[in-house]
Symmetry: C2
């Protein structure tokens, strides 16, 4: 019996690919083992179980998104940075729908604290540096960005805008412009 040389990293990576192919909801130790051509029990050498596997995929997705956002937001400011950040989330969700779903998995606080979650919050605050907001408004603005980005992307991913005109890209552009308008008006208020 030939060995595949699996590691926790490679197993989680294959799990992420599987999520993009069949949907995160259908990812489990059984479906992943089937895809890898090994027995379900063999996976327990690399992950602690079903929950551990799914949590690790979620952590991977959060990290990949944060990495991408770091690259895209760097060197941009104001509305350019805002659009870049939004496009990262939307683009990642389009390219990796299963991974994006995974990233929304609720985690216990200790796990969430060690995830890339705080990096995302920092990214949002970095974008807001281009707008002149005081401390109190900044928290609201971070929440506004999170709500709007996540709301649009998850509705689009769930097919809420499918098969209806105009294409969702136009709505996305309109929404990004609206966010810019709101943030600009807050700074002058």
């Amino acid at each position: 019996m030939p060995r595949l040389g699996l590691t926790t990293t490679s197993v989680v990576g294959q799990g992420a690919e599987l999520a993009d192919e069949i949907g995160f909801a259908h990812v489990s130790v059984t479906t992943l083992a089937r895809r890898l051509g090994i027995r379900t029990a063999s996976l327990y050498a690399h992950v602690q179980g079903n929950d551990d596997l799914r949590t690790r995929i979620a952590l991977l997705a959060l990290q990949e998104m944060a990495d991408r956002a770091d690259r895209e937001v760097a060197g941009r400011a104001g509305v350019d940075a805002l659009m870049a950040l939004g496009d990262v989330y939307r683009g990642y969700a389009t390219e990796h729908p299963g991974r994006y779903d995974a990233s929304r998995l609720p985690m216990d606080p200790s796990t969430a604290a060690t995830s890339a979650g705080p990096r995302h919050a920092a990214l949002a605050r970095a974008v807001l540096r281009g707008y002149d907001l005081d401390e109190a408004q900044q928290v609201h603005a971070v929440r506004l960005l999170g709500s709007t980005f996540h709301g649009f992307v998850s509705l689009e991913l769930a097919g809420g805008f499918a098969h209806s005109n105009p294409p969702s890209q136009e709505s996305w552009a309109a929404i990004l412009s609206s966010l810019d308008l709101v943030l600009t008006s807050w700074s002058t208020a």
Copy 2:
């Protein structure tokens, strides 16, 4: 053995209550049967199975939200109607977190078409009547409302804003005002 006189309606209603108590993710024929004090197999006389049960809970939640929104939006216009609609979704999610989660369950198109989903779209368009938008902008605006409401509510429900100051209520008020500002600016553009 005493009979409980269960019906499909009562079973689904109890399922919705159970969802609010233990989370929609944990609702199944087994957990519901345990709560009702009957055997799992007995539920199959009232629902077709696990998926059918969960779908029916989702349909119930969509309908309850639409009913509530109808009542609250009636007789209001402009920013009052906008806030009323938003508060319906947020309030329903707070009171019935399990049901709200259920309402986000992806359904096949034929089921979705017979759900209260279209009523929600009509409600959003009704609110937008208070703003002077042309046809093309109206679609974008419907999507903006859906994205923002759902995005904020689901982040709040997932605990994204928990334990951080200022309280999420303040952010919610700020976001509703921002929506009003955006819609007003679109109508004058």
